[in-house]
């Protein structure tokens, strides 16, 4: 009963995590944990695309940005309440993802990687190069997509009014809740029919395809569906920090998140979460060597791919929770 075991692990982890704000009074730890939840959502969904669907997409942070920007723009231009803006932003992300997927997924491995990277770069350039003023508030010229500065003051979830200085605790629980949902979703995908289809396509593509399992169809579905929680994470990120700018497109961040997946183990259920935790802690430890951070990240990424391609979950100690039906040497 691997599914039941995974559900049990999830329940225990969520329960343990829920204790954090009760145990510690330090605001810093709680807000960093919230950030961890956001990145963990992103990497679990990216892992679905990368490790389960075998789609080498680098557009994950672009989708995250679509979610974040949609939320900010809905709040900024239409003054929509954030609780409403979040699901709308997630659906917008799904829509964008479907379009990107329809254009990119007909291609094979490396082509997909390059094209998705190019799409992300294009979005970044469109946002930062746009200098024409769309509106002209007292704070200064505002391009349609916020330009280099991005958006601030587009509303929040209302916890600041409700709880005053303790709002960050509420955000912590929102983040935890979203992460639990995202992990449940990834479990459902991996253990469900879609996971089976990808397993079949991996183990025997000829047989699977002749039985009517269309790779393109399933990849497109996976690509689109995984964008929902990615967009939601982006949306929550924007609300949590009350700001969003083009920095979410940075290569450094992409590197950071990709390292999480690689360190934990691509294609495993718990690997990305473990990787996210380890990298957040490592990053904290490297804070004093600020300028060396990216070199350290690069070393971690390259080192793991070269010497430990299955990540920490591939170590003999951690064999238990492996995703069933790994690709065998054929």
């Amino acid at each position: 009963m691997p599914t039941r075991r995974d559900l049990l692990i999830l329940a225990v982890l969520v329960a343990l995590a829920a204790l954090i704000p009760l145990v510690t009074g330090m605001r810093y730890i709680v807000t960093q944990a919230t950030l961890f939840f956001i990145w963990a959502i992103v990497v679990t969904q990216w892992n679905l695309v990368l490790g389960v669907g075998g789609i080498f997409s680098l557009a994950q942070m672009a989708l995250f940005a679509v979610g974040a920007y949609s939320t900010a723009m809905l709040g900024y231009y239409f003054e929509l309440p954030m609780l409403l803006a979040m699901p709308i932003a997630a659906l917008v992300t799904v829509l964008v993802s479907t379009l990107v997927g329809a254009a990119c997924l007909r291609l094979k491995g490396p082509y997909v990687a390059l094209l998705t990277l190019a799409v992300a770069q294009m979005l970044y350039l469109l946002i930062t190069n746009d200098t024409a003023c769309f509106t002209n508030p007292p704070s200064g010229c505002m391009p349609f997509f916020g330009g280099v500065r991005g958006f601030t003051r587009f509303g929040d979830l209302g916890f600041r009014e409700l709880l005053g200085g303790k709002w960050y605790v509420a955000h912590f629980y929102v983040g935890l809740f979203l992460l639990a949902l995202a992990v449940l979703f990834s479990l459902a995908i991996i253990r469900g029919p879609m996971g089976l289809a990808f397993q079949a396509l991996r183990d025997n593509p000829g047989c699977a395809m002749s039985r009517g399992v269309s790779k393109f169809k399933y990849q497109l579905w996976l690509f689109a569906l995984s964008a929902f929680f990615t967009g939601l994470a982006g949306s929550f990120y924007a609300i949590n920090f009350a700001a969003i700018g083009p920095t979410v497109f940075s290569i450094s961040l992409l590197l950071f998140l990709m390292s999480m997946i690689v360190v934990g183990g691509i294609g495993t259920i718990w690997g990305p979460l473990l990787g996210a935790l380890i990298l957040m802690l490592t990053d904290e430890a490297m804070r004093e060597f600020g300028d060396w951070r990216d070199i350290g990240l690069g070393l971690i990424l390259a080192g793991f791919v070269i010497f430990l391609p299955r990540g920490l979950m591939g170590l003999p100690v951690a064999r238990l929770p492996r995703l069933s039906g790994r690709r065998r040497a054929d």
Partner: protein, 292 residues
């Protein structure tokens, strides 16, 4: 008329620059199935080495260029030895080497950043003056780039078609096992290809920085464009890549003139996506990709 001359002049220069960096990528992908994401960092490294040799050591420009080529060639070789060789025969080589080179690229780029700082620096490898065609000033630097690109391409074509090494590269690209059985030292060929690609990256980096300026992250955009060109041509197809580079350079110059600089890349990308939907294996690629 003048506008057309202007567009052609800048389009050809851009195309030639793209072609140099694209050739290196196409060669590596063609023979190893390896997308080298550290290529952009190598461009920056090459540009900075040339700058360092000329501005700080006071060496002759050609020696600076040569030094940049050597340093980047060695860096390419190191990438092969450290990253590519250990996993060459492992499954998922393409994905793994892609991720590994992203990491290596970040390392190189940040080392350059630590050594030279984040401020833009002018590239001293530069010709002043211009030639006047009609009413249009074509800078000598652009002509130098164009000439150098042509020279390099001719040299590379000679290398691939006429020399032992070229034959070994082509044989390895077509069929690694067969080449190995015929006595080609495949690993040696790969090492040479990566060193060659590094050297080309250095030239390309010097050229690109001479038109704009040196920045530690200057390689990112040209690399992405070079990749796009590779994809349009069909990954691994060297001659197709050169043709595509020049066509895209001209198209970009045109788009810049008609629509403005900020949209030229977006238009380029849209075009690429359309081409790929029409021909998923690139303009010159075939389903069973015949490389080189």
């Amino acid at each position: 008329m003048d506008v057309i001359v202007q567009i052609i002049a800048s389009g050809l220069t851009m195309g030639a620059m793209y072609a140099i960096s694209t050739i290196g990528l196409a060669l590596v992908y063609g023979s190893l199935n390896m997308l080298n994401m550290a290529h952009g960092a190598l461009l920056a490294l090459g540009g900075y080495v040339c700058y360092f040799a000329m501005a700080h050591l006071g060496l002759h420009p050609l020696i600076g260029l040569l030094g940049a080529m050597v340093v980047c060639g060695v860096a390419g070789l190191a990438i092969f030895l450290v990253a590519a060789r250990p996993m060459l025969r492992a499954e998922n080589f393409e994905t793994r080497i892609f991720i590994a080179t992203i990491g290596i690229g970040a390392i190189i780029e940040n080392i350059v950043l630590r050594l030279f700082g984040p401020q833009p620096t002018p590239q001293p490898f530069n010709l002043s003056g211009a030639i006047v065609i009609g009413q249009v000033h074509v800078p000598n630097q652009n002509l130098l780039i164009l000439g150098l690109a042509l020279l390099l391409m001719a040299g590379l074509a000679l290398l691939l078609q006429r020399t032992r090494l070229g034959r070994a590269i082509r044989a390895t690209a077509q069929n690694r096992e067969a080449a190995q059985l015929m006595g080609v030292r495949v690993s040696f060929v790969y090492a040479q290809v990566l060193a060659l690609s590094g050297g080309l990256a250095a030239i390309s980096g010097v050229m690109i920085s001479s038109l704009s300026s040196l920045l530690p992250n200057m390689g990112g955009d040209p690399m992405l464009k070079a990749f796009i060109i590779c994809v349009v041509a069909g990954l691994g197809n060297v001659y197709g890549a050169v043709a595509a580079a020049i066509v895209l350079g001209l198209l970009e110059a045109m788009a810049q003139y008609v629509l403005g600089v900020q949209y030229s890349f977006a238009i380029l990308l849209l075009l690429v996506i359309l081409v790929l939907i029409w021909r998923p294996f690139g303009l010159f690629g075939r389903r069973q990709v015949v490389r080189l």
